[in-house]
Amino acid sequence: MAPSPAASLSLSDVDGKRELRLAGRLDSYSIAGVWPDARAALDAAPNVPVLIDTSRVEYCDGGGIAMLVDLLRQPRPPEAQVSVVGLKPQFQTLLDQFDPVAMRAPPKEHEERLHTVAEIGRAALIVGRDMRVQVAFIGETSSALWFAITHPHRIRWKDVWYTCEQVGVNALPIVALISFLLGIILAFQSAVPMKQFGAEIFVADLVGLSILRSGAAFAAEIGTMKVNEELNALTTMGLDPVRFLVVTRIIAALLMMPLLCIFADLIGILGGALTMISFNIPISAFLHEVDSLVDVKDLLAGLAKAPVFAILIAGIGCLRGLQTQTGASAVGISATRAVVSAIILLVVVDGIYAFVYYLLDI
């Protein structure tokens, strides 16, 4: 089979008229070679009539027709019109379906570039709106928590225990692993006294990081409920989603976080003890050392962070979940936003704690 002839274009100027002769196959692949040239030939002669001779076109598909329409639709003065002649009848019917004038590209909407100041203002408005949502959420959650405290029998304890299992029990392996390893590492650098790891400041951070997973899980869970209209179902039952979903999760996190911290303390000390044993330091000596360096104040300084971190992580997870939009990607976006916001908040709040502890000389 002979290779199909590619599209070709030749042009001539006769009697103040320009003539474009197209030949060969005009299909979606071959037209790329002639389309720009044809447009250029047209644009180069804006004030003379142009005749497009297609009598030697053997084949023309939708792409070829599109090129012809493009050549026909260019706005030109009335005395310099473009016309297509000699197209085979079967291709002519394809071309006749389109009115080139109607196919003119709509003028590009000139999106007004905002002034930098206006841009900043708009961004600030968006931040402001987000802040307002968060403040409203804090308010709703606080009032729902207050209601829960004053009406403990109205708390859905079954949901609380279930969430405790997710937040607390299921977090044990990861918390154990991290604090054990950290205990070993710190003991190896054992110049670093136990105080540094100590029941103190970092444990809460560490456990906070490891229950970030719960915050993301809350966001995903509540987000999915929103997508599935379960939140609407609660609302039309007259039940407040904040009281129903957020309060139970925050209570569960509040209950579990301090326990996880104590657990991490113990496992960390265990890791340190194992290291010391490998250095032939008797365990009693190690424990004595720990006892002399770490006091209850250190333990409490760590534990004091726990409830705040718990509220932050659980709260932000729930908020992001409630804010979930519709669509398949929405839940993933909410989970990601929950993690990001929680990390930022953890760092900020930790800074505040560090400052306060510094002032209090803890």
Partner: protein, 258 residues
């Protein structure tokens, strides 16, 4: 029995972000009837229903449910209205972490002071009404789509509402399951005198259950037909309405293809 309106929608305008979806519409639903809101895709029928149950706030107008306007109601007054209605969402919206029985129990636990055994019994009876009493211990993910919708109806009926709203009950169901659901709706409507407001575009379902329909249209942003569906099919002088009931392509699409 003379028709007594239980829902009145008055001078109701709704839309999204300045885009008006329906303008100044008025209609009533009578006590005990099966009332169907229909319309093509994008006509706003689901949106209208979500306004009627108070999920969205309209741009203007009022929705009176048994005499009280749900739009302006708040707090306890809103809850009092919500107790009169039950809603079945398109996906069922059963709580995925609870069994069917727990799903039906939930509204009872929250609103009644019945003891545990009594709540169990009431919930079981609701499941029995929809033929799911044998599945009370199942999780929503363990049952079929049709069963999920029936369970959602059971949950919606937990507090014996006077009005049940169903959003697209036949969506995603095979014809037989869909027909069974129609029978269930009719049975509940006739035996328990529940008023049904149903959003659907499933013709077979409409003919099977509807006492009266309204048809929304996105071009006119309003109601273009109201009445008995079979009568509308045969006598409406609106070409759109006739096409809809005869399941034909829209008039302007036909003109284009001709």
């Amino acid at each position: 029995m003379p028709a007594e309106p239980i829902i009145r929608v008055e001078h109701f305008t709704a839309g999204y972000e300045g885009n008006v979806l329906m303008r100044d519409i008025n209609f009533t639903v009578n006590r005990g009837e099966v009332f169907v809101i229909l319309g093509g895709s994008g006509s706003g029928k689901s949106t209208l229903m979500k306004h009627m149950i108070g999920l969205y706030e309209p741009m203007a107008g009022a929705v009176y449910i048994d005499g009280d306007d749900i739009v302006t109601s708040e707090g306890d007054a809103r809850r009092a209205i919500l107790k009169k209605i039950g809603v079945m969402y398109q996906s069922g919206a059963l709580f995925g972490s609870m069994t069917l029985l727990e799903n039906v129990r939930l509204p009872l636990e929250e609103y009644t002071s019945l003891d545990d055994d009594a709540i169990d019994l009431v919930a079981q009876m609701k499941l029995k009404l929809v033929g799911l009493d044998a599945f009370s211990g199942h999780m929503p993910s363990e049952i079929s789509g049709g069963m999920q919708k029936r369970a959602a109806i059971a949950r919606a009926m937990a507090l014996d509402p006077t009005i049940l709203f169903l959003d697209e009950p036949s969506a995603g169901l095979d014809p037989i399951t869909s027909a069974e659901l129609d029978l269930l709706i009719l049975r509940l409507a006739r035996s328990l005198h529940i008023t049904f407001v149903i959003v659907t575009h499933e013709l077979a379902s409409i003919y099977a259950v509807a006492d009266r329909v309204i048809m929304l249209d996105k071009r006119t942003k309003g109601i273009i037909a109201e009445g008995d569906p079979k009568v509308l099919r045969d006598t409406s002088d609106n070409p759109w309405v006739r096409q809809f009931f005869r399941r034909e392509a829209a008039p302007d699409t036909i003109a284009e293809t001709a």
